[in-house]
Every structure is written in structure tokens, then in C-alpha cells.
């Protein structure tokens, strides 16, 4: 039987994905509530983020202290993603000013817990544009482990060399839609 979670050696994140994520979370959070994004792509030895889904509205709880995506939204994203052969690679969310970009206990417990999945925390009220200052975590051995700076440099490529297709969508508990629909 094939492995559901083949090991990931490195991730490629298009520059456009970084920009789109930041733009969307800033716009959605407005500096007063957390927001976030789901990074999707084909899970492989080198996994590339090729789609981003921004959960919003119905089925999403976004407050100053938490960002929670309901199972209904995850169901809708699954129905959209799987026919496109996309898997969840990482969950990005923001922390407001004064809250360090670290995974809290609640974040760890609430996040998806499968090997190799990323959890990324954007700090400074979602205005921190330096991704090296974000909190980068990977789920290994039944817990999230913060990636060291050297690992980040080795395992992550921010690809800005060429234009690549990047699919951007929004989602709520009713489904996944073109950007701007919600």
C-alpha cells in the first residue's frame, strides 16, 4: 500500500505565493484579528506551493486571539483540491502585534497533525514582510518543531526566477470560489 505522506525534503514557494499570502492576510485581518491561508500543492520530495486557499466568512472564526477553520471549510477545500491532485502542505496564520510568531499550545493542538505538514506564523500584526522572522514549524514525531534558520535556508526556496501558475481561491463552508467572491 502506498504511503499517504511521502517525505518532503524541501519546499518551493513562488514569490507570488508569498506576496499573495501577505496581501490577503493583511487585508482580511486589518490588524485587529488573526487571519490565514492554506498552502496547497503536490506533495513530493520537492513540494511546490501551487495553490492558496483563503478561508473567510462562514465557517471561519477570526478574532484577535484565534483563527479557526471549521471542518466544513476543510471539507469544501478537500472536495475542490483532491480532483486537482492537490494536498495541504501548510497552514499559515497571523499573530497580532505584541504576540510572538510562535505556535501556541492551542495552535499546536488545533493544527493538522500529519508528518511533514508546515505551520507558519506571521508575526507583527501580519505586517512582517521578512519571512525569516516568521515562525516556521514542521510536524515531526508527533509534534511541531520550529525550523532553525539554517534549515529554512536549506529547505525553502522562494522562487522568483520565473512566472509560475499560482491558483488563488477563497473558501467558506459552502465551497471554494474565485478570489473576490467572498
Amino acid at each position: 500500500m502506498s504511503q499517504p505522506y511521502p517525505p518532503i525534503q524541501s519546499w518551493v514557494v513562488p514569490h507570488a505565493a508569498m506576496s499573495a499570502t501577505l496581501t490577503a492576510v493583511v487585508q482580511e485581518g486589518q490588524g485587529v484579528r488573526e487571519s490565514g491561508a492554506l498552502w496547497l500543492g503536490r506533495r513530493a520530495d520537492i513540494s511546490r506551493v501551487s495553490a492558496i486557499v483563503f478561508p473567510r466568512g462562514k465557517g471561519v472564526e477570526a478574532t484577535a486571539g484565534r483563527w479557526k477553520v471549521s471542518s466544513e471549510v476543510f471539507g469544501a477545500v478537500t472536495r475542490w483540491a483532491k480532483p486537482r491532485e492537490l494536498s495541504l502542505l501548510g497552514v499559515v496564520h497571523t499573530h497580532l502585534h505584541g504576540i510572538p510568531p510562535r505556535l501556541s499550545r492551542a495552535d499546536r493542538e488545533y493544527s493538522v497533525q500529519v508528518p511533514g505538514i508546515l505551520a507558519i506564523v506571521i508575526g507583527e500584526g501580519d505586517e512582517d514582510r521578512d519571512h525569516l522572522k516568521w515562525g516556521w514549524y514542521v510536524y515531526e514525531h508527533r509534534d511541531y518543531r520550529r525550523l532553525l534558520d539554517e534549515e529554512l535556508a536549506q529547505k525553502f526556496e522562494i522562487n522568483s526566477k520565473k512566472e509560475e501558475d499560482l491558483c488563488l481561491r477563497v473558501a467558506n463552508s459552502d465551497g471554494v470560489f474565485e478570489l473576490g467572491r467572498l
Binding site: 499517504p4 506533495r43 471542518s71 478537500t78 483532491k82 493542538e109
Partner: protein, 112 residues
């Protein structure tokens, strides 16, 4: 009249519901690269499929400060009757079934 169908004959051409026919089951889970595939008899229950899929994906129901439960979705609907057999769920003429496995987290449902 020749053009009129005989009600008796019409009834006879309707095939009976499938009974314990093999069902090719696929279960998808968003973080996984590969789906779970297995062939089940029609009298297998939804609960059996759920348990096998959870085992394949390495997840389990558990409690921390919240309660984490996994459920199957079928045609966008959450399946709650774990005793329901596939024949009942799928009806006749179904050779395959496609489910999604989704985690439900109920906040604060566990004792701190």
C-alpha cells in the same frame, strides 16, 4: 395499444437493489498525497471504512483541551450513522464510493 407499456412489464425490468456486491471505496484526506483504496462487501459498515481509512492515514480520534473526531463525508454530507452498510448508503448500481475524511474539532469538550 402497442405503444402503451404494460405496468407489470415495466416493474419487471427494474433491477433489484444490489446486495453485498463488492464496492470499490476511495477515501481522500486533504494533507495526504495518496488516497485510501479498498474493496468492501456491500454489507460492510460506514464505521468500518472510517476506521480503516483513519488507520491508513495515521490519525485517530483523541482529546487534548479539545475533542478531535474524524468523520467521513459523502456527496458533501457528513456521515453520522456508523452502522449504516454500504449497500444502504449507495443504493443499487453503485460499484464505487468516494469519501473524504475530515477532522472535527470541538473546542473545550475535554476536561482540562
Amino acid at each position: 395499444m402497442e405503444s402503451q407499456a404494460n405496468p407489470q412489464e415495466t416493474k419487471q425490468v427494474v433491477p433489484p437493489p444490489a446486495k453485498n456486491e463488492d464496492v470499490e471505496v476511495t477515501v481522500e484526506y486533504l494533507p495526504a498525497a495518496k488516497p485510501f483504496h479498498r474493496v468492501y462487501g456491500g454489507t460492510s459498515t460506514v464505521g468500518t471504512v472510517r476506521t480503516d481509512a483513519m488507520s491508513f492515514f495515521g490519525v485517530s480520534d483523541h482529546r487534548d483541551r479539545d475533542t478531535h473526531q474524524f468523520f467521513l463525508e459523502f456527496n458533501g454530507q457528513r456521515l453520522t450513522n456508523m452502522a449504516q452498510v454500504l449497500d444502504q448508503l449507495l443504493g443499487p448500481h453503485r460499484k464505487g464510493a468516494h469519501f473524504n475524511l475530515v477532522e472535527q474539532i470541538t473546542p473545550g469538550a475535554a476536561i482540562a
